[in-house]
Amino acid sequence: MSRSTVTTESAPVRLLLIGTAVAFLSLFLLLPLAAVFVEAFRKGWEVFLASLHEEAALDAIKLTLLAAGISVPLNTLFGVSAAWLVTKFKFRGRSLLVSLIDLPFAVSPVIAGLVWVLLFGAKGWFGHWLAEHDIKIIFALPGIVIATVFVTFPFVARELIPLMETQGSDQEEAAVTLGANGWHIFWRVTLPNIKWGLLYGVLLCNARAMGEFGAVSVVSGHISGETNTLPLHVEVLYNEYQFSAAFACATLLAFLALITLSLKTAVEHFTGHSSQNNH
């Protein structure tokens, strides 16, 4: 895309603007990213590898994968269901529902953890009943999962709703006139059309689920080897002044972020669309 001279700036102005923007992005994107890796290797390869092989680290990785493995499919199911509901049907309260789906974006992760403590914590609404039946939610896996689900709730739905809205319902209606039932319509007509958007939503949801800190930190109890997810493990190491180990574990999460970004770029390349989504 080339622009005519009347719609662009003179070369010095352009250079100044590019220079400032690049400087800002370097300071706020490239420098932090470099810092993660440099700090991780400050004490050499051995310390780096040892920090990842430590049992607490491995447990934290397992727990993180498990929590994301439960919460991401749940929110994917919800995202597809909610997107189907608000884009294929007109009903009263539709726009209210759309705003409610966005609600968790406006809620602090700490509050997202707090609400579960208030419900299921030792002094919470159901705390007494849970203790009597020996069910642990807070300071245990279920708490971590529900806190993660709360925080990552809107991601898939947010990605699918605008996409399915632009695609309209013509193809689904055509399938209906051809005799297809709901199952056929979803799997054979709708899903192939939204698969990239869905994949992108799931990726974002997963990245956020694995990296969630605030909400999980409130409900986890920081029990090493039991309820520490990887981000919490990073915090523990950092607070114990084991900086290299903390950054070594942080590189895993940074990798996750980079992979998510690359896949995102690849998906955009495939579909030829850039996502307008915000999170």
């Binding site: 013509d170 193809q171 209606e173 055509a174 399938a175 209906v176 006139t177 051809l178 005799g179 297809a180 039932n181 056929h184 054979r188 007509v189 192939p192 059309n193």
Partner: protein, 331 residues
């Protein structure tokens, strides 16, 4: 199979999209629903297909006498061609056409080979042999439309419904496809109802024209009848160019080709009016003449180019114009 529509109404909130519509579509006919946008024609078509629902009430829709209003769209057996075709983008042409057969429940579903043969047959019918592996985005607009048609026909529908079938096509393709569809319809003889906003298309293509306006049917009839004997000023104006002649409180509608032009010397005060040539346009098969009458009204006249040459007129000349004899029923 005939379609019988009886007292169908449809409202969206306070807005009435259809008011008490009744219509008979004869078996094997090609019927056009024509009207300006917002007249309710697409809504009516969608209700016949089961894609929209009429307001509850005494309304009935019957195919060959069988009431279908409670039959869901998926089981109603209509072939529906959408305005923008609604082809499945991720499927090949063959997969698109086969879709309706492949989603039939187990027992009713034909064997793979049967489906393949049927797809072949349909591709031949719509003259798209050899394109079975293409994706919709690799086809031209006219080809897409024929794929949509083949897909709709694959389920052996009882009736065929087309929503603005030529709306998304270029002018030339549109003309060719229009002629092709007429021949195609005569070959397969399937009762067909189509929506268009283009009066020329409706008149040229159909056996029966249904003119709609403001949620109501304005007139139904054969194209010739509706064109020559419009029942209302609206139909008169909608179905082609027309001159609106004011004489006191009365208005008379005269089509441009119905007016004779004579030399001023041939002026007959009983039937003619004197007028002055205001504008001449003859770059086309038909020449158009605009004349200004004595009372200041303008009149468009269409005549053959040969006739115009015989008159050898130029702007400013005086002529005598003779409208057709007054017909009853007009006002």
């Amino acid at each position: 199979m005939s379609i019988s529509i009886q007292s169908i109404s449809k409202s969206f909130g306070a807005y009435a999209a259809l008011e008490d519509i009744s219509l008979e579509v004869p078996d094997g006919s090609l019927t056009a629903l024509v009207g300006p946008s917002g007249s309710g024609k697409t809504t009516l078509l969608r209700i016949v297909a089961g894609l929209d629902f009429a307001d509850p009430g005494p309304g009935k829709i019957a195919f060959h006498g069988e009431d279908v209003i409670d039959i869901p769209a998926a089981k109603r057996g209509v072939g529906f061609v959408f305005q923008h075709y609604a082809l499945f983008r991720h499927m090949s042409v063959a997969q698109n056409i086969a879709f309706g057969l492949s989603v039939l429940p187990g027992a009713a579903r034909p064997k793979k080979t049967e489906i393949r043969d049927r797809v072949k047959e349909l591709l031949k019918l719509v003259k798209l042999e050899g394109l079975d592996l293409r994706r919709p985005h690799e086809l031209s607009g006219g080809q897409r439309q024929r794929v949509a048609l083949a897909r709709a026909l694959a389920i052996r529908p009882k009736v065929l419904l087309l929503d603005e079938p030529f709306g998304a096509l270029d002018a030339q393709v549109r003309k060719d496809l229009r002629r092709w569809l007429r021949v195609f319809h005569d070959e397969i003889g399937l009762t067909t109802l189509f929506v268009t906003h283009d009066q020329e298309e409706a008149l040229e293509l159909s056996d029966q024209v249904v003119v709609m306006r403001n949620a109501r049917i304005e007139q139904v009839g054969k194209p010739q009848t509706v064109y020559d004997h419009p029942r209302s000023p609206f139909v008169y104006e909608f179905l082609g160019n027309v001159n609106k002649l004011h004489a006191g409180k009365d208005v008379r509608y005269v089509r441009p080709h119905e007016i004779d032009v004579l030399f001023a010397a041939e002026f007959d005060p009983a039937t003619d009016s004197l007028a002055r040539v205001h504008h001449l346009f003859s770059a086309g098969p038909i020449a158009t003449l605009t004349v200004k009458l004595g009372d200041g009204q303008f009149l468009d006249i269409e005549l053959s180019r040969r006739h115009l040459a015989e008159l050898s007129l130029s702007v400013g000349d005086e002529v005598a114009v003779r409208p057709p004899p007054f017909e009853r029923g007009q006002s």
